[in-house]
Subunit: 346 residues, 2 copies
């Protein structure tokens, strides 16, 4: 249909391609293009280490409302892995570029974009697909401009796990700093570590359940160092009067489960039960960042970034260069034992 | 200190007592008094059938912001029984008059009361103690004026069980009428029956769990007649792939437990689990009707009363004259098998 003719660079960035589309003799539109991109793509669902590969992608158009972002860093999350595996009832269409969060620098902007400029740091909020690539082009509304004072490994990882922890703490019940507690399993996860620290900042006690496995003593100590009030091994809770283990802590009014099975029952056993009514909510971050809640989520994210900047919200990450993606993926898949959150740098 | 002198009736109601307090020779205040009241009182915590008794109470002052209400009807709820038993961590102080909800007619009002007049129907909202008596005096702010078009047995019982059902459905997750469901145990309770009907009105499917006991076939049919989509006996759910029982229904995003123990685990087994994060919330109606939420709760109550008036919200009640309170109490205590909600009439 249209014939692409590369013209001279004359746009917002001297080093980017500008293309005019000509239909026969009539030149009728100037097109801003992204640089070519390198991306981790999967063409079918399956085991991530066998279906993902690095692909060179051609430049794409940066439309009038679009922003082209040069990615700085993006993590490998369990939800990325599950998405590639296709284990969710709703499977992302393939082929697809992996990754749902990350931080980048604005590289170029479409003609209608006013709130963002080249050089700004941005993150997709709500999380958005295709972050595992060097240049991402998405509509302006996808991007949330952030302060550059927060370390990039936190900026890259703030929109999923820390926000999940914050929304779980704040969305369901008004917790009272004078005497409320929460109970969670999977406490060593990033979400779990964030719950501990965010609760501590609010004067809320945390009761934490971790798995019986090698290194559990160290895990307990590191969670206590983050502010955990109680840390139990699952095996410690297989007793009749489990609430006697709470010591002086109030019975929790809120419980978080990210493990399932028997570990979920252990959370329930510790939950306050007088009066005996409880509500179980399937938690899905997507619905909590949906239309009408984006502004609220972005304010929460700014709050979390501030905490990370000030050292009040901490978790371990490992930065891995993009060309070593397979190594990071193997670690994220748990093939090398427990590892810090893997964060790709571009 | 003060010497009470009964003066002539000269106030808003011709048949009520008016008292002036005189300090020696100086008469300085006109005092509006309630009629004497008959009340169900408990002087210590314990088994309700042994610690409650009918007591004649003397008139009390109706202060300038107070409203004196002649009670029409009040139910015996499980929470009333638990309160008398003192099984909650926070015990109500004794001696106390029982009952936390009911409907009455305004009998007289203090001099500062403008929004309520004798003859109005009112209910305490949020629920308030001491409703098992013929005349209740409480501040105007306690009372919510309601439309008289709703049958009094529903007006008497709307603020606890139906409101619990509505808040459980609405407070935690945005349910989608296009394909969401909820799962609950204790489905034959009033809360459970209200959940079924309120969900149905919203296009939300319900998956209901009932106990294995005599009459369970009839219980299943009556819940289906209310709109239940699926009704399972607990024993039916002791299978490996429990979700295959859901048939075409979507996996529930929300679960309600008012039974505990294994029955709570059955709710969890049916809850949606991909992605596998769930939040368990201890539900306490008191905190959901607290300061700042009263107006919202009263609007919800008006909505529920309208549904009851229109026959869209139904549950079985049995009206029992006040002087037969012990009979109603025995039924409420379950001593005569499964019974309709016992509602005292005054």
């Amino acid at each position: 249909m249209s014939q692409l003719i590369l013209l001279e660079s004359a746009d917002k960035r001297p080093d980017q391609g500008v293309v005019e589309i000509g239909f026969g003799h009539k030149l009728n539109k100037t097109m801003l293009m992204s640089p070519p991109s390198k991306a981790i793509v999967y063409e079918q669902h399956g085991s991530p280490d066998s279906v993902t590969r690095l692909v060179n992608l051609p430049p794409v158009e940066v439309k009038e409302n679009d922003v082209c972002v040069k990615m700085i860093a993006a993590p490998i999350n369990p939800s990325d892995i599950n998405g590639i595996e296709g284990v969710y009832p709703v499977r992302p269409p393939v082929p697809a570029v992996g990754g749902y969060e990350g931080v980048g620098e604005v590289y170029s902007v479409g003609s209608n974009v006013n709130a963002l400029s080249p050089g700004d740091w941005v993150i997709p909020s709500p999380p958005s697909s295709g972050m595992w690539q060097t240049f991402v082009v998405k509509e302006e509304s996808v991007w949330h401009k952030i302060d550059k004072s927060c370390p990039m490994e936190y900026a890259a990882t703030i929109t999923i796990n820390p926000l999940t922890a914050l929304r779980m703490l704040e969305d369901f019940v008004a917790l009272d700093s004078a005497g409320d507690s929460v109970v969670q399993n999977g406490a060593t996860s990033i979400v779990g570590q964030c719950v501990i620290q965010l609760a501590k900042l609010r004067g809320i006690s945390t009761i934490n359940i971790i798995r019986d496995r090698a290194g559990s003593d160290e895990a307990r100590e590191s969670l206590k160092a983050l502010g955990a009030d109680q840390v139990f091994l699952e095996s410690q809770l297989n007793v009749k009067n489990v609430k006697s283990l709470l010591g002086g802590l109030p019975e929790p009014a809120l419980g978080f489960n990210c493990v399932g099975g028997n570990a979920a029952s252990l959370v329930l056993k510790l939950l306050r039960c007088a009066p005996n009514i409880s509500v179980f909510v399937h938690f899905h971050l997507t619905s909590r960042c949906a239309e009408g809640k984006v502004k609220e989520c972005r304010e929460m994210i700014d709050y979390l970034l501030g905490l990370a900047r000030d050292g009040k919200l901490k978790y371990e990450t490992e930065l891995v260069p993009f060309d070593e993606f397979p190594v990071a993926l193997n670690k994220a898949l748990g093939k090398a034992g427990r590892q810090p959150k893997q964060v790709i740098t571009f």
